[in-house]
């Protein structure tokens, strides 16, 4: 084995060791690296007590309630398994919408709601013109309707059999 090949092998081995160390460190720090925890994790009691933390998820459809003053707002953050009611007073980003992602910083209050001091919007990685987005939405609605019709038809078809 030539010395330069030995060196190359040594560099490769060193890189592998560094990679393993990095993986172990990152794994150990896992919970500190995550920017937010989910409502399910809060429900499981993983939320820090009396300390600021962030929760993230979707803003539940139909949950936004604005007060008359225009800056006080209540909404629900959900990961579809668990819900957390959030209270917030302040300015919201434009992309904050029902059914879209949001990350809120604050702390849990005694009655179980989350008192937020900052609310950020989290958007997804899809980029398309509004017409394409509308077409997708319409197709999705048609799909749901068709599903409902099929289910109704299947129920109808099943009925006479059941009566037989």
């Amino acid at each position: 084995m030539k010395s330069r090949h030995k060196k190359l092998a040594l560099i490769g081995a060193a890189l592998a060791v560094i990679g393993i160390i990095a993986a172990l460190v990152l794994n150990a720090l896992n919970s500190n690296i995550a920017l937010y925890i989910t409502p399910t994790e809060v429900a499981a009691g993983k939320a820090p007590k009396d300390k600021l933390f962030r929760i993230g998820g979707l803003v539940k459809e139909g949950s936004i309630q604005r007060q008359a003053d225009g800056v006080t707002i209540a909404f629900i953050i959900t990961d579809t398994e668990a819900d957390i009611p959030v209270h917030y007073k302040g300015i919201l980003p434009d992309l904050f919408k029902e059914g879209k992602g949001a990350v809120a910083q604050g702390r849990l209050s005694a009655d179980g709601h989350f008192q937020a001091t900052e609310v950020l919007a989290k958007h997804d990685e899809n980029y398309m013109p509004p017409e394409a987005a509308k077409a997708l939405q319409d197709a999705h609605a048609r799909g749901l309707e068709k599903q409902a019709n099929d289910a109704a038809a299947a129920a109808d078809a099943a009925k006479p059999k059941a009566g037989y």
Binding site: A34, H123, Y127
Partner: protein, 248 residues
């Protein structure tokens, strides 16, 4: 031996210097062409986004600079490995020539990201895994440049810098996969080798801009490498001949 084309010939600064000089104008021209095409597609042809309106168009700078900041680091680490293993003169110069461009790309990525984050997310900066690891990348570039500049002997500077580059290379996959591995405010990737979640003209505009930044990076890195070659090899015959040529 001389009758066949030998690629290793260009590992010598004396032969690489004129070759680099001939290549630079082509890469510069390609950067301008791809850049014009990319800007035209991105700014004038690509449609408005359904969520972010016109604001999303910063993606045509943000994503290419982010890609280049990671890619340039990988190329520097490659040259560092070659330099440490084979003790070649040129590899250290190539790594050094790339560093300022890599740092510029990392800085632009963070800066355009902040400009984009404020209107869309509501924050200039959050300490999420993607943003933090990209900031570490910028610090790695700056640290490398400072380390190399602090050591007078260029061969020793290359060795020390090379070790730093190789240690830091673990950060690149962390940046890339951060949005998959952890909860982040930054959204996931829109584009990878197999799929894209962008409208077609948006995607093409972005890819053309990425090509433009790529060609630009090669052109400026080669220019810088030529200066480094002259500086480091100033006592050799080929540099003296080269300088005599230009003075004539």
């Amino acid at each position: 031996m001389n009758d066949r084309f030998n690629l290793y010939r260009f590992a010598s600064p004396a032969t690489f210097y004129p070759l680099a000089g001939r290549m630079i104008p082509w890469f510069a021209a390609a950067a301008v062409l791809f850049g014009l095409a990319g800007l035209y597609l991105g700014m004038l042809v690509a449609p408005t986004d359904f969520q972010q309106g016109e604001g999303y168009r910063i993606i045509f700078i943000h994503v290419p600079t982010s890609w280049m900041s990671m890619f340039i680091y990988l190329v520097m680490a490659f040259w560092a490995a070659i330099g440490l293993a084979f003790n070649t003169r040129l590899s250290g110069m190539m790594a050094q020539a790339l560093a300022p461009t890599g740092a510029l790309m990392a800085f632009l990525s963070l800066w355009t990201g902040a400009l984009w984050g404020k209107p869309m997310w509501g924050a200039w900066w959050v300490w999420d895994a993607r943003l933090t690891s990209e900031l570490i990348l910028l610090f790695l570039y700056i640290g490398y440049m400072a380390l190399v500049a602090a050591i007078d002997d260029p061969r020793r500077a290359d060795k020390a810098g090379g070790v730093l580059l190789l240690v830091g290379v673990v950060n690149v996959p962390i940046i890339y996969f951060s949005v998959k591995w952890w909860n982040t405010l930054h959204q996931g990737s829109s584009v990878n080798l197999t799929k894209s979640s962008m409208a077609e003209t948006m995607l093409w505009g972005m890819l053309l801009m990425a090509l433009s930044f790529w060609m630009y990076s090669i052109a400026v890195a080669l220019t810088r490498a030529r200066t480094l070659m002259l500086e480091r090899e100033r006592h050799t015959d080929w540099v003296k001949a080269e300088l005599a040529e230009t003075q004539r």
